[in-house]
């Protein structure tokens, strides 16, 4: 009798080829993707610098950093801009070489070079600090010791210059600050995709869809009517989870409550409409669940939530950028931790909004008023 049940289950599974494809092909695809994508060692980390000294010595420092391949350097025009580049997310690190650098160096006065790292992601900050040591390696500092031929012996400092490292935004390198805002997004994504993912399939399976289709409702009416309640529920859920984050883990307040609300609304809208789209392309509730899960997993791993985007190889990077969650992570960290200005968040906001438009339009197009 037990074998009869085993056989029946297998037969039923076999009759759903899409489900079989989902459970065989998708894991394989994900495995290959993650095998290629997941590297813990970032490269080409963007560094903004300002070199006011413009001497061969400051050049030595830049070359030393550059030659490792870890940092990718670009120049900005003011010291303030170095920090702003990091706040805006265009750079993860920054460096400032003051104008009197070689002058002080020549007098063995140990000039200071400012080095900034983005502390939002503590693991990356640590790695950047470690890699900054190439600026003070022997190859760089060898030629930085000065003494006149006739000068009396003096004690020369061991280091010709000092690299002052400042951790920006999350100076205490609190890991929860880094993870929690993104995790809130994961939870909301889960709720949204699974809640909406089954909503239309269920109507189809329970035959209520047939009864709905004969009514004079418009496609848009149906799709928007399906979206709104779930958008509302997920939005409430978002603030509920975030509230718990504030209460329990002392998460920082956002730079702007209005922008945070805007982010929540757009992100929830994107997730709910994506869920609806899943529901429209699935034939059974099972299929919908699987598709949802296969969207959630790469979203977590490739969005920069856990591993920095810099650690994801260039060939896989486009996938990171077609994941809506990537932009959510970017914005919420900007708002809560880095206090990024609106102007620097416009791009990810625009990207998220595009996803909403895309998913809603696709849902309306995909929804056929036929069985």
């Amino acid at each position: 009798m037990m074998w009869a049940i085993v056989k029946k289950e297998l037969l039923q599974l076999r009759r759903d080829p899409r489900l079989v494809a989902l459970i065989v092909v998708m894991p394989l695809l994900l495995l290959l993707l993650f095998g290629v994508a997941l590297k813990l060692e970032p490269s080409n980390v963007k560094m903004a610098y300002l070199d006011e000294d413009q001497s061969i010595f400051s050049n030595l420092i830049k070359t030393g950093i550059w030659s490792d391949g870890y940092f990718q350097l670009y120049e900005v025009s003011t010291k303030q801009a170095v920090i702003e580049e990091i706040r805006a997310g265009r750079a993860k690190a920054g460096m400032h070489i003051p104008a009197n650098f070689s002058a002080l160096l020549a007098e063995n006065q140990q000039p200071h070079v400012d080095f900034y790292v983005d502390g939002t992601m503590p693991s990356l900050a640590t790695a950047m600090k470690y890699n900054s040591s190439s600026a003070t390696s022997e190859g760089v500092t060898n030629d930085m010791y000065f003494s006149a031929a006739d000068a009396p012996n003096v004690v020369i400092a061991e280091e010709p210059f000092i690299l002052d490292t400042t951790i920006l935004f999350n100076p205490d390198e609190i890991e929860t600050w880094f993870f929690l805002p993104g995790i809130i997004g994961v939870l909301v994504m889960q709720i949204a995709l699974i809640l909406t993912g089954i909503t239309i399939v269920r109507e189809r399976e329970q035959h209520t869809l047939e009864q709905l289709l004969v009514t004079p409702m418009k496609k848009t009416t149906f799709v928007i009517g399906k979206l709104l309640p779930y958008v509302f529920i997920a939005l409430v859920d978002f603030y509920f989870i975030l509230g718990a984050g504030w209460a329990v883990f002392d998460l920082p307040q956002p730079s702007s409550q209005l922008l945070l609300f805007l982010l929540a609304a757009i992100y929830v809208g994107a997730m709910i409409s994506l869920g609806l789209l899943i529901s429209l392309i699935s034939q059974t509730q099972q299929q919908a669940m699987f598709i949802a899960i296969f969207i959630i997993i790469p979203s977590i791993l490739l969005s920069g939530l856990i591993f920095p985007l810099e650690a994801i190889p260039q060939i896989v990077r486009p996938i990171s950028y077609i994941i809506p969650f990537t932009y959510f992570v970017d914005i919420i960290r900007g708002l809560l931790i880095k206090k990024t200005l609106l102007v620097d968040l416009l791009l990810p906001f625009a990207a998220l909004s595009c996803f909403v438009i895309l998913f809603v339009t696709a849902s309306i197009m995909k929804f056929r008023q036929k069985l």
Binding site: H207, E210, V214, T215, P216
Partner: protein
């Protein structure tokens, strides 16, 4: 013809509908013209294409060919003039009777609660107002489904096997309602495979393997078998007798009804010859008694006939 001499208007018109699923033709050249106030029955065996046909008429299944008009308008612009009850219970099981009714009424912009209250009363669902639709018995679920389909007072009602799996008392109650709707000038399109239900329709069409093979009133449609005689005899079921009788060219149908065997034959064949066939098989000479042709005889004879083709 109406009493005043005018011709009643054609309300449901379908011309040459056809539908393929893959390369299987499930509805083939389906045409009907149904007049106002008529109860039109589409009778056919399972998988004959009844449900596909009714869904095409309602516009929820894409048609591959042909045209449908409701009151002269295309279906897309006539949706608020039609009501449809699908074969399977299509109301929300988690919602109460009242919530279902409210929802479907609102989908047609009907919000008059007093009117809905009256309807609930008329369909004897008032005592179940706050019960979840999923917990209703099959009969009451049917009533609720019908109620949800008529709340917006449509001109045309499409009912897909409205009384399948329903006890005769509830079936009669539903049909009384159908007649009441028809008397108010509503046009009803009903699919069924119950003879008892087909008898109740004003007009009938037999559908088999996608094609309409006969049409008429329940009385006139019987003539489509041509000149036939029907005999009945008290006789216990005996498969070899069935086989022997069917071997005879003139025999159109052999059908066992409890203790009675019904035989439909072309009129020219002789009764004694049939009696001889039975005697050869059983060693017992029985008298065949002439009987009336009924709808079921016609239905089975027609569909069987085509299977032999």
């Amino acid at each position: 013809m109406n009493p005043d001499g005018t011709n009643p208007a054609v309300v449901i018109e379908a011309r040459s509908l056809s539908k393929y699923y893959g390369d299987q033709l499930v509805v083939d050249d389906f045409s009907v013209a149904i007049e106002q106030g008529e109860i039109f029955g589409l009778l056919g065996p399972n998988a004959a294409g009844k449900t596909t046909a009714i869904r095409m008429l309602c516009g929820i299944v894409e048609r591959d060919a042909g045209a449908v008009s409701i009151n002269g308008a295309a279906i897309a612009s006539a949706r608020n003039r039609i009501g449809y009850v699908s074969q399977r219970f299509g109301q929300y099981a988690e919602l109460t009777v009242w919530e279902n009714l409210r929802f479907y009424a609102e989908m047609y912009r009907v919000t008059d609660e007093a009117l809905l209250d009256d309807l609930l009363d008329r369909y004897a669902l008032e005592p179940f107002r706050h019960q979840r639709a999923g917990n209703l018995s099959g009969g009451y679920q049917r009533r609720l489904a019908l109620l949800c389909a008529v709340a917006h007072d449509p001109d045309v009602l499409f009912l897909d096997e409205p009384t399948a799996g329903i006890d005769p008392v509830t079936r009669k109650l539903l049909w009384d309602e159908f007649y009441a709707l028809s008397a108010r000038g509503k046009t009803l399109f009903v699919t069924t495979h119950y003879m008892e239900e087909a008898q109740r329709c004003h007009q009938l069409a037999f559908i088999d393997r996608g094609r309409i093979i006969a049409r008429g009133t329940p009385l006139t449609i019987k003539q489509c078998l041509g000149d036939v005689a029907v005999y009945a005899v008290k006789f216990a079921f005996n498969p070899s007798v069935h086989k022997a009788l069917l071997a005879n060219e003139a025999v159109l149908l052999v059908n066992q009804f409890g203790l009675e065997l019904r035989i439909v034959v072309a009129n020219h064949s002789s009764r004694s010859q049939l009696e001889q066939v039975i005697a050869d098989e059983t060693g017992e000479r029985l008298d065949l008694v002439p009987s009336e042709l009924n709808l079921e005889d016609v239905f089975i004879a027609l569909t069987q006939h085509r299977k032999a083709d």
